[in-house]
Point group: C2
């Protein structure tokens, strides 16, 4: 039997679980070339349903490519990659909580090699091997979304840390003056400023201190009352040329840049890959300009 | 000829160059057991004098142990470890600037294997292999001195970054409000607060805003005028039980902790090893308490 060039990739999200066949021999960086046979199922809330759904997704891929030898799983939560134990998964994933040894259990059930990885880490490794960081050994992926996530590859290897909790870069502190509480309970984490939610909080702050004229101009475009202004309204007002919205988005770029400075000075990656729902709003030349680390002499 | 268990270690400082024989087979973490035949010479300011001094130090070690096979060099500056090129060394080391290929040059002259490394990186690796981080694969060393330096070992390997400039953790930003200029030209770097110089600047700030009574009490102990207060005076006043000095040192611990939070959240090391001249003033239980990262759920 010739080993298949395909592996099974599975992503576990709070709402759905997705899978595909991944062509591990492909030199393409086009996801449509790299992956095929996309499948998805709703994520069950109980452990047994969760395992059953995983097995169903695996079976569907093996029907398409019987000789696969390995399964890669990405999931929210801190993953002990030695045994595939998912620790501290978000409340979105109750089904995974009871599973102590995902790796062993799936390997026993399928006869295939299984590797489970934190999803931010998996994304960073994917970018390094087949995406924007291809050919590089040292990259950091920063995901700007509802929160801020980081995944780190250095010397060509995943950086998981001593307790599989590396890459929580969203909780780098940006201030020493207790300005904004983070969902983690600490003050002034990067995520509390540089996420979509962070931009919305910044917008609220600027609206509260703006002149009534500037505030009215902004609210006329956004079509919401001040308390209902969220990320979307800031972006819309910015696109319409509103000056207050530009100030808000400038501040957001500064917040993104502060965390990037921490990453750059500590790790000196060849590239920082920026993804997530907020990435589309990044002015990359500006961000590069305000982030660039000082050259030391 | 039996290969010697000894290698030659050389540290290049701004004032002197030191060397020793290092017992690479020793299981001890006592420097006196690990190293012997300590030698030192002044650091020449010109390239040829600099190379000559290196060769003299090497020769003195080979006289003591003729069969050594390798030389390890630690130096200030960013080191391209592939060719031993020292880039951007501090103004303290003019002699090293003209040397393009330290590794090749010394290997040709001595017939020994040569590896040159940034001194903060070398210190971190040393702590990981033979010091406080022994037996661990993931440690960060933080040096609190005149500046703040960091060295990172992850997955058992040095993290040098894509351009040999990783470990500049002293330039993690601690604030988004342009409070204090760093020597690097940027605002609010960790080093501008958590170094000895940073503590002195914090002391000046507190002295300026203190009540005249508190200020007089402090200055009576420190025996200096306010403008002459430096790290030493803060420590002396603190030891004498002065409340204002305690406030200053508390603030310094908070500044140290903010940078440690960035390190912990990004890298999750098994241990952070703290060294440097300021390490003796760290209240470790307190620092641990205020640094501990939030557990994410």
């Amino acid at each position: 039997m010739i080993a298949s060039p395909y592996s099974i990739g599975i992503d576990i999200g709070g709402t759905k679980m997705s899978s595909a066949l991944v062509d591990t021999k492909s030199q393409s960086d086009d996801p449509k070339q790299l992956m095929s046979n996309f499948q998805e199922l709703p994520t069950p809330k109980d452990s047994e349903g969760f395992i059953q759904t995983l097995l169903t997704l695996i079976e569907r891929q093996r029907e398409a490519s019987p000789n696969v030898t390995a399964i890669g799983i990405s999931t929210a939560g801190t993953v002990d990659t030695r045994i595939g134990k998912v620790m501290g998964a978000t409340g979105n994933l109750p089904g995974i909580r009871g599973v102590e040894n995902l790796k062993e259990r799936l390997e026993a059930a399928t006869g295939l090699y299984v590797h489970a990885e934190n999803d931010a880490n998996a994304a960073a490794y994917g970018e390094c091997r087949a995406g924007a960081g291809r050919g590089m050994d040292d990259i950091v992926m920063v995901t700007l979304g509802t929160g801020v996530g980081t995944g780190i590859v250095m010397n060509g290897k995943m950086i998981r840390g001593g307790h599989f909790a590396a890459g929580e870069g969203g909780h780098i502190p940006l201030s020493n003056s207790q300005e904004r509480k983070c969902t983690c309970g600490r003050w002034d984490c990067w995520e509390a400023f540089a996420s979509g939610t962070g931009l919305a909080a910044t917008a609220q702050k600027y609206l509260a201190s703006a002149s009534s004229e500037d505030r009215e101009l902004f609210l006329a475009i956004s079509g919401k009352s001040a308390s209902d202004v969220h990320t979307h309204q800031v972006i819309e007002a910015y696109k319409a040329g509103n000056p207050l919205a530009k100030t808000m988005l400038d501040a957001w770029h500064q917040h993104v840049a502060l965390g990037l400075r921490a990453v750059l000075n500590l790790l000196d990656p060849e590239a920082i890959v920026i993804g997530g729902g907020m990435a589309q709003f990044v002015d990359f030349p500006k961000l590069h300009d305000i982030t660039r680390p000082q050259i030391h002499d």
